[in-house]
Subunit: 177 residues, 2 copies
Amino acid sequence: MTTPLPPAPSSIRPGEVPFTLDPAGADDARLAFIGRVRSFHRSRAECPKNLREARERGGPAHVEIAEAFRPALAGLAAGQAVHLLTWLDGARRDLALQTPRHSAEPRGTFALRSPVRPNPIGLHLVRITTLDIEAGLVGIDAIDVLDGTPLLDIKPYFESVDVPPPLPERPAGDEAR
Amino acid sequence: MTTPLPPAPSSIRPGEVPFTLDPAGADDARLAFIGRVRSFHRSRAECPKNLREARERGGPAHVEIAEAFRPALAGLAAGQAVHLLTWLDGARRDLALQTPRHSAEPRGTFALRSPVRPNPIGLHLVRITTLDIEAGLVGIDAIDVLDGTPLLDIKPYFESVDVPPPLPERPAGDEAR
């Protein structure tokens, strides 16, 4: 009989700094999982690091919506762009400064899109490819999370609010900078 | 001595349909509030309905980051576009179909940006106007939530993942449709 190994202690890379409290212990509000992402990404090693990488690799994905929440899909359509919000349940939550693999310098968590954050909510702008409301199946063009990742929300993309606002005009005389 | 009135029973507009369960009772995951939004919107009646309306009206806003989370602001800069995630704590969570005031027909919650949703997380793409990391103050160009709304996350906007993916090319011979 073998005993499973205990989880490895949380490791810190050079330059990384934890918060003075672990947000994983907070209970300021509670979430309801509305479904799960289904992807071909079965391990962290093979999971694309972002949506661009997921699209370059190709490979479809979909989300499965729990039965109770399916009526709320009415009005969505294939071809539409939507934001998915996911709960990145495997991510630690306690790092203020972190050093991603692609980065030489540690950076603040809020300046990164890393899954490691006080509230590990993933934001993914995808396009709906197929839609079966009765079965609760929403096909999407690509996704950058592990198979089984819980889903929190689907929000339609609107150009009126989802395009960055213009930079403020520079004051006169500022052209030389 | 007066007794406060009990809360009004949840009202349903014509065509609106509740979920078969109330997501407010779920406990699938727990959140940590990292700060608060400070805006001039003190009541629902005077709160802009979306970011476009907030920008048209003008009026600055900022977010206050709790002390423990301020180190995670390192690497952000004034001028940068960021997504804010908020917890819309005044919103009911139990409607599958809803009829917004501007809409004649009820629509599915996931086809709307209404604050009423199973997980009332607000998504707001704003521009940082000022940044004081030590004080935990992030000035933003506009916001469409009430003063005091809890903040969950700040994520940098990246064109590589935050622009909708192109529509798939139509198959040959499909031009007439």
